[in-house]
């Protein structure tokens, strides 16, 4: 049978597989727009292990980590690096307990303790790490260890 004539179950299956893959990809986080569609700020059941959400970038000297964590009392932040593993924990503050549960029209935000660990791509110098909490986003600057920095090798001509 010529490939374009009639019904080919294998082609249909292949088509379905691709559709499903695309669906999952869309839900993924690395596609533009993918991350924005997720409910991004909710610690708790749904986001267990994935809170806070992180953006990571680097340049020659540092690794930069941004953690999306609004409403955290800065005192509760605990950021540590050990053996190339970064751990961020803290507590998102709940609203006052004095509020009568019946007085709520909407409760979409959630609160509570969170911890997330992450393997860093390269070794970092744990001496000079910096952390800043601005407008609900935690910014970390982790200097790369000397051994992890790119080095130029002089080519000698003999």
């Amino acid at each position: 049978m010529a490939p374009n004539q009639g019904w080919d179950p294998f082609r249909e299956l292949d088509h379905l597989r691709r559709e499903v893959e695309r669906m999952f990809q869309d839900y993924g986080v690395n596609l533009p727009g993918g991350a924005a569609r997720r409910p991004a700020f909710l610690p708790g059941q749904a986001a267990r292990g994935m809170y806070p959400l992180l953006n990571i970038s680097d340049d020659e000297n540092n690794i930069y980590v941004e953690a999306l964590a609004p409403g955290v009392d800065p005192q509760t932040f605990d950021v540590a690096v050990q053996d190339n593993s970064l751990r961020i924990s803290g507590e998102k503050q709940a609203l006052s307990e004095d509020i009568n549960p019946d007085a709520y029209h909407r409760q979409e935000r959630s609160a509570g303790r969170f911890t997330r660990t992450l393997d860093l791509p390269v070794k970092v110098n744990t001496e000079n790490m910096e952390a800043q909490y601005r407008e609900g986003v935690l910014h970390l600057t982790l200097p790369k260890a000397e051994s992890a920095k790119p080095r130029q090798i002089q080519v000698k001509v003999s």
């Binding site: 409910p39 953006n55 930069y64 999306l68 007085a103 029209h105 407008e135």
Partner: protein
């Protein structure tokens, strides 16, 4: 006082058309009632204090926050994308718009909307005629 979210399709009428293509995030909120008004708490991470626009117009509360993006270096992993925040609520009771208070702390916005004097329940004194 009650409120309900203004549907996005009809709700964006107050945003000028030139910005219609702007894709915004809908911030999660807690809304609760106090004796003299309504309190709206919204997560707006990445929005500086002076980039928040809050207004009540014809019974619709609009919250619009502009995000300050500051990306350094080459991205290795992107789990979130900050976008401007936008959300509207229709309020059923009249609000004392002179006395709306807003506070921003650690990326969380708290708006207190006191009820207008005429929307408050009035106590009626019962007189006895004896």
């Amino acid at each position: 006082m009650t409120e309900h979210t203004v549907q996005t399709t009809t709700g964006e009428q107050s945003v000028p058309e030139t910005r219609a293509e702007e894709q915004t995030l809908r911030p999660p909120v807690d809304i609760f009632e106090m004796t003299d008004g309504l309190v709206v708490v919204a997560d707006l991470p990445g929005v500086p204090k002076d980039q928040i626009d809050i207004n009540v117009h014809e019974g619709v509360l609009t919250i619009h926050g502009k995000v300050k993006q500051e990306t350094v270096g080459t991205p290795l992993r992107n789990e979130f994308e900050l976008r401007n925040f936008y959300r509207q609520f229709r309020l059923t009771d009249e609000v004392d718009s002179e006395n709306i208070r807003a506070e921003m702390k650690y990326g969380v916005l708290t708006v207190t909307l006191p009820k207008a004097e005429k929307a408050k329940p009035k106590r009626i004194e019962v007189k006895t005629s004896s």
